[in-house]
Symmetry: C2
Subunit: 769 residues, 2 copies
């Protein structure tokens, strides 16, 4: 089936292109990414180098190049180049036929095949396949098979190539290429922290064997050159195993990498692949979302789930990057996206993964504390851009005024305070879904109390209005900086204060000694709890207008110039101009990057009536530019909640196709590179389907569904894990079937529309909807 942007699928389990489009090097490199939460290897062609965005991004390698501390791209262990009678196989020269690049989503397998005919007439048929192992996260494996049509000389250059894309400059102060025990090894050391990174590679040649092999070594390369004299019809198979280890994740990384390659070679490619596929089977077993009746939507959904999965570290407490491991943009670091967009899918299907990521926020408390202190506050002010340690990675200057070349002091890192309460929100959502009280006691309480303290240190009290106000904010709508009482931020802050009080009271009851110890450690007292209560009671929460029902996004928003995004396009002096602070075209208008009030509804739907949500949707939607990849999914969610099914579906489509159809288009903005996989939008696809179309909501009283499937969908099926119990949900336009797994431990209270049922383990209920 032909989808858009040159993408095809047959089964809904894969995406493939059948023609190479050189204008989409950045996009396809990201879309065909393979990865496993430890590393990401871009979906580029294996003969390419840095200039075509080849990269293998490895987690936990934060190191500074120029002004950005970011993940490193390590040397490319899969580099393989074929020459036929001296002419290089390439999609850029000669003739390419039967070209396919395919990503098998079910197994995380990248496949490429093509028949290539050089200018001298030499034809080579190539088939190659690779994966980033989920069985051993350090392993990249590749099978490279080629066959010749005529008798020719073929030279293969394969090994480890240091020429990889690095967004912000060189990270390595040294490259040490060597051959050790039959393996190639390229060891690098980062410039800032001296992280040692070892890439080891081994090779097995099957089929016709080379006449001669030699080692080619230069400053940042260690390669084998294999000379073949092949008769017509002969083929060669190269099976490569590469291991990547760093001193940040293992002791003696060189030796470990070498041992892993030896083991991999011994096991052989097919075994590695089978072990890898078994892991993916287990992942999809609980994570797959099946859509009947629309193969495109099925494919889009799985494509997005796939990318959210491979972006998420499971091996260590590390952040989910805003671009995952698809490139170095946003430094491979976490934003609020992590808690609000990426995590919910894990919270409700693989809570142990979500727990890991939330615990990472506990690991980074000291970073958040020191950021708070540096900016004149106390408690935990989480980094806007958070790497391993939680120190603030977002640079003061991110965008550039493309008209003057002057850098812009962007205030993402000091004014966008909602990141802290957002984390508390996610912790509480996790607790509601899992009942994981130990997590609350061991991690959640400290984070929450410290965030509460930060909010106390930030807030101002207006005595004459008897209310607390938050001043000088940047909400999710980043086009409007330096605003007061941003509705989203104020509600989130109040929610965090309430969570702090709830946790305090629960611990007082259930874990008094842990509470006492934590209070002592944090220097907290009953006075602080009284402050939290006072704030929770008196934070100013912008209310819906009595007639309009509108909630003002921030103080004075409604007084801004009321124009539409299209009007602003005409005011641009340069298409790459940044629209926001301090003097972009949107700043003094009502045009939004994303709609904070809708985002507020998405997190607190129970606090607002459908009428209020609808009125605000009607107002904010036409004023929203969707300059953020987070925006369309929130519109899909709220549109679904207020009964705008067609609009909701249109926004679902927009969000789900952002990367695959290259629909965001904004690879550059304000002089900054913004390409890569938008992992938040990926995570949001799950939310749009499960929270939007299936209408899932969970609170202390149980699980509710309010299904409203897109008209073209015949059925929807997904799984949930709630308090450790697995549910299978099957929806059609007429009925809902809910099944509680036999191995569940407790009965579950499930409501569908008006109907509430108690579902015992092993039971299945069908309800008309």
């Amino acid at each position: 089936m032909r989808l858009k942007n040159g993408i095809h699928t047959e089964t809904g389990w894969e995406v493939a292109e059948h023609a190479f489009d050189p204008t989409q090097l950045v996009t396809t490199g990201s879309n065909f990414l393979i990865g496993n939460g430890y590393l990401g290897y871009r979906g580029t062609l294996v003969e390419w180098e840095a200039d075509r965005y080849t990269a293998c991004i490895v987690s936990d390698t934060y190191d500074k190049a120029e002004q950005h501390r970011e993940l490193c791209n390590v040397p490319n262990g899969l580099f393989t180049r074929l020459s036929a009678n001296g002419e290089m196989l390439s999609v850029f020269n000669g003739e390419t036929e039967d070209y396919t690049r395919r990503l098998d989503l079910r197994s995380g397998l990248y496949c490429r095949s093509q028949t290539w005919r050089g200018k001298l007439g030499n034809a080579v048929q190539l088939e190659t396949e690779r994966f980033a192992s989920y069985d051993n996260l350090h392993i990249l494996a590749m099978r490279y098979r080629f066959q010749v049509e005529d008798t020719i000389k073929v030279v293969i250059l394969t090994g480890i190539d240091g020429s990889v894309w690095s967004l912000n400059g060189e990270h390595f102060k040294s490259y040490e290429p060597s051959v050790r025990g039959g393996l190639l090894l390229l060891e690098t050391v980062t410039g800032e922290f001296g992280i040692q990174i070892d890439v080891a590679g081994g090779l097995t040649v099957l089929g016709s064997q080379p006449q001669m092999t030699e080692i080619v070594k230069s400053r940042q390369r260690i390669l084998r050159r294999l000379y073949f004299h092949l008769e017509a019809g002969q083929h060669v198979i190269l099976e490569k195993a590469v291991a990547i280890c760093t001193s940040n994740d293992v002791a003696r990384p060189r030796e470990r990498a070498e041992a892993m390659v030896h083991a991999a070679l011994e096991a052989g490619y097919q075994t590695l692949k089978a072990d890898h596929q078994a892991r993916w089977d287990a992942i999809w077993e609980v994570k797959d979302v099946q859509i009947q009746g629309d193969l495109e939507d099925q494919t889009l959904t799985r494509f997005n789930l796939y990318h959210n999965i491979i972006a998420t570290p499971t091996h260590a407490r590390l952040p989910i990057g805003a671009r995952g491991l698809s490139c170095q943009v946003y430094q491979g670091a976490a934003f609020w996206d992590q808690e609000i967009f990426n995590l919910p899918m894990f919270v409700y299907t693989r809570p142990e993964v979500a727990r890991n990521i939330l615990a990472y926020r506990h690991d980074t408390l000291d970073g958040a504390r020191s950021k708070a202190k540096r900016l004149g506050y106390y408690g935990a002010f989480y980094a806007w851009t958070s790497g391993k340690t939680g120190e603030e990675l977002f640079p003061d200057f991110f965008f550039t005024n493309v008209l003057t070349g002057r850098r812009i002091r962007n205030h993402f890192n000091d004014w966008q305070i909602h990141i802290s309460p957002d984390i508390v929100y996610a912790i509480w959502q996790y607790y509601i879904a899992t009942g994981d009280w130990d997590f609350v006691v061991d991690y959640g309480a400290e984070i929450t109390f410290e965030v509460a303290q930060f909010l106390v240190s930030h807030v101002y009290f207006k005595k004459d209005k008897n209310r607390y106000e938050f001043i000088r904010l940047l909400g999710p709508d980043e086009y409007h900086e330096n605003v007061d009482n941003n509705a989203f931020t104020n509600y989130q802050a109040q929610s965090a204060m309430q969570t702090a009080l709830t946790i305090y009271e629960a611990m007082h009851e259930r874990a008094p000694r842990a509470l006492q110890s934590l209070f002592r450690q944090l220097g907290l007292s009953e006075d602080d709890v009284a402050n939290w209560q006072d704030m929770a009671d008196l934070i100013y929460l912008p209310q819906p207008g009595p007639k309009s029902l509108l909630i003002e996004q921030f103080d004075g928003y409604f007084d801004l110039e009321d124009v539409r995004p299209g009007d602003l396009l005409e005011r641009l002096l340069d298409p790459e101009e940044y629209w926001g602070w301090p003097n972009g075209v949107a700043v003094r208008t009502q045009v939004l990057k994303q709609a904070d009030v809708l985002q507020l509804f998405a997190l607190h739907p129970d606090r607002f009536s459908t009428e209020v949500m609808r009125a605000n949707y009607d107002y904010y939607e036409p004023r929203t530019e969707h300059g953020s990849s987070l925006s369309p999914s929130v519109h899909a969610l709220i549109a679904s909640m207020v009964g705008y099914q067609e609009e909701s579906y249109a926004y679902f489509k927009k969000a789900a196709t952002l990367d695959l159809y290259n629909a965001s288009e904004k690879v550059w903005s304000g002089g900054s590179f913004l390409g890569g996989i938008h992992t938040a939008a990926c995570g949001a696809v799950w939310q749009m389907v499960v929270k939007g179309f299936a209408g899932l909501s969970i609170d202390e009283h149980g699980i509710r569904f309010a299904p409203a499937l897109p008209a073209r969908w015949k059925g929807l099926c997904f799984k949930l894990v709630i308090h450790g119990n697995r549910l299978t949900v099957r929806l059609t336009s007429e009925e809902a079937t809910i099944e509680s797994a036999a191995e569940n431990e407790a009965p579950l209270t499930v409501s569908i529309g008006e109907r509430t049922m108690i579902l015992s383990p092993g039971r299945r209920e069908k309800v008309s909807t």
Copy 2:
């Protein structure tokens, strides 16, 4: 004596240029200004038109052209152009000899003389003189005498010319030229408010009479053309009387203007001049500052006093423009300059003038109230730029990013809140100097209470720090917007709260019924007074560092990049770039436009030790760019207070020569025209001399002097009026002589250094210093 910038003086009572410099059209037009507080007529040549900045600015004619509501330039009633045998007399063609343009400061007389020889060899000797009458403020009078060397035909074109400079576009929707009762009349009506402005002109010809006279009339001109056949040596004298009346200041302005011209013609030029001079004699009688030993400083001082005098309305309660009546820049409106820089000279010499100006702030309370309300506050938030009504005249967009052409949203009008407490400060200073309790009851109390209320509505309370803070400010240092706890603003706010409490208590005692009535009118209660007290007690006042003694200009200032103004020059991409908000070169550095902490010392010297003042002077002085004309004088004052006599004198010189020597140079900045007379710097000259070098300070306990004359000065003499009593102060480096006028009513307590004396009326005391 030759001064700088081509300026000469002989007596210290005049400034003159003896060569015409076409590069200084803007500057000399301002420097040679004549005026009387009602109107200003630029010191341009009388044959010029709009393109050479000819202008007659009239007070109380605020009307909008494009985005600026500003004073109007009315038609030029003195326009006179001479042709000799068809060739126009001009400094731009032919040969000019014996050229002089002179401003007689003692009488406000503008004189120009030159001998001109055209290309055809026709020589004309010209002498002309003009003044803006202080006897009848509506009258401009001119004497225009010329004599020919050869027999030639001379044509004079004279009358009323509407071709005048208008900074921001056309103000008039109609021009109606006519001849009525022998007078020329040009009536215009403004476009926004329909203000009727009548310029009537009459002419007397003495000496040789014209052969023929005709009227020349076009859309915006009404002129007489006079044809002369003159023999060698013959001369002609034109005596012109022009009256300007507007419907904002008189009923039936046309008839009034005509009547004034008839009366003026009847009286004759010499009588008009004598009456005018008598008025100036009275002004200088109390205002003159005599400096012995340095003719340049004497001249500079009088030049600045002169311009502060003619900028100041005495006929009505109107603002003193930041550029006086020298041009339309800053809209002919008042800034904080008025209270802090222009007024003190009047407070201590002609308090009735100061009272008038302060009462103007009472007239504009409603404007300040409505501004407060519009921005979400209450009480009185005075306009940053205040015309007649007190509505905010400062446009949202003042500067332009000259690199992009995009306008800059300058926050002078909403974040620079210190204007309100500054007015309260001036009121209290006036009361201290005059004892004018009626003013306090009738005007001062209401202003002060409303300012206190505004401050209550603006301030935030930090509960965790138990203090009030002011957030999002712009201090006098306008390069740093959006700052918190600007030291100057916070101290001024506290001072205003204290004044409100002092007035409240005094009225409670002395005028309880007036207080009650005012409280009722303003809706105030004891609760509000309690709020004032709470704020006065708990406003955060940045303190000197325990070791450094430094006061931080605002929160976080010391963390900014520590560079010097010279360093920033190298960062400019365009010399006309605006240095400030939001992205100018100074914004993220410690480089200041002016030093707020020194300004704070200037207003509250008693609150800080000399050591603190010196440490801060040492720190801030090298970081100050003096981008404001207010800056050098404050440096002079504080340098004098901390004993840096040479630096003080150097800054005095800088401030006093700003306009005369064209030392400011910044005629344009950020795309905005900034030329004209810097009246605040003019007013500051009085303060530098009297408060700085003579060391005057006055409080409830008496009058003090701490003289420290510049080394080169032999003597200094000035007068003061304190509580209605006149003092003459004569200082030399060795001794001080203070004389209490015989007509004084009360003994005065005067301290000089350590010595305190009671000075009875008529007594003179001499003290060694």
